[in-house]
Amino acid sequence: MTNISFTVNGQPRTVTVAPWVSLLDALREHLHLTGTKKGCDHGQCGACTVLCEDKRILSCLTLAVMKNGRSITTIEGIADGEKLHPLQQAFIDHDAFQCGYCTPGQLCSAIGMLHEGKARTREEVKELMSGNLCRCGANVGIIDAIMQVKETYSHE
């Protein structure tokens, strides 16, 4: 077992896990942050997307021990207290989900993408969001929501 100290949603956290525990399972089972979802456990659906120092990564394809000392943001850390992140509100307004299971991953991925600042057009947004599958077919709502927020999102 290994002690890991890292920052999760702005809070210092320590967990004791076996080396073979994925970051995803550490978040869900050890820190009880179940907002991050397991959809395939093999990097093929994007449901487990979290931010590691503002970069979107797949928490299923990395080990918790490899994130010692790093800063992780999960869906639980996106809103500012009760105040939703503009993208969260845009997802609600555009009905950008149905079952809601891929939603945490879509949101973390979209926030990571806006931070990257590489997507200019709708086509580029779609391409750069294609690592996040939505089986309900809420694709149009998701991209509409992102495009709306992208307009107001200044490159910081």
Binding site: H42, G46, L61, L63, E123, E124, L128
Partner: protein
Amino acid sequence: MNNFTYTTAGSITAALQHTKRHPQAMYIAGGTNLLDLWKYNLLHPQTLVDLNGVPGYHTIEAKEGGGLQLGALVTNAATAYHPLIEQRYPLLSKAILAGASAQIRNMATNGGNLLQRTRCYYYYDGDVPCNKREPGTGCSAIKGYNRIHAILGASEHCIAVFPSDMCVALAALEAVVQITGQQGKRSIPFADFHRLPGNAPEKDNALQAGDIITSIDLPAKEFAHHYSYLKLRDRHSYAFALVSVATALELEGNEIKEARIALGGVAHKPWRIPEAEQLLQGKPATAESFAQAADKLLEGAQGYPHNQFKIELAKKAIIRNGLMALHPETQLPGAQPSA
């Protein structure tokens, strides 16, 4: 998905010492394919040696006399978006961005990209015969469903293809792989790095036990003006190539001075035939010229029941991508065919 121990290496020397003492140890960097395969119970590392903390391999540096050195631990995303790559080697940037997803590109490293295993269905199913996974058990793909398989350079033992997009561009650009191993440093030209299956399909490349890729070096020739990466697949993004083409041209007017063409999704390694490129020298950059090169590139191509189409598709893709390379600005996100 066996249990393993985990250790971090502070230097290449320390990492090499570790694997010398523990031959069952494996290096981990991005981990995106290694952990995927481990979870399918296909890789069984006893120890993972984390290379991410090894200093000195996290940057992209200009080399004296031209060329770039891509640190093995730089992520695929950081490489694709690096100003030196975007401006000087845009073909490489396009190819990287055609692969995987943004999240995976943020994790996967340059060194690891070269070491991906095939995506053959049968390799990924531990319960069925596969010579690549268990030598001598047979190839399920030859008599099975082989839509995604090789048309070039395959053997009776294996028809798997190598899945990387980045490597198709690296092959076209004639990159050189820098390696440090138990016997010291050496370099391998890209064309010799990956191998054909022959009768040892379990071996994907020229690495020996314990070897560490430290960098991938790009030669001075950049092909910054006429290039294109085209990727054809069963959906418009986040899928492996059925056929992909990296084309780089140096033009004088409409005359081709130098050409590079590499194919992905068709063989056990990025497929490049220098003779095909020589055919283009001094020729006009037209569909007819590219068709001639395509015929040369595809010489000896052999299809299987479900992938016969790849031969014709590859030819058409080579022609189209040659024309697309003349107008790189028309390329679409996801390396789709031009509008």
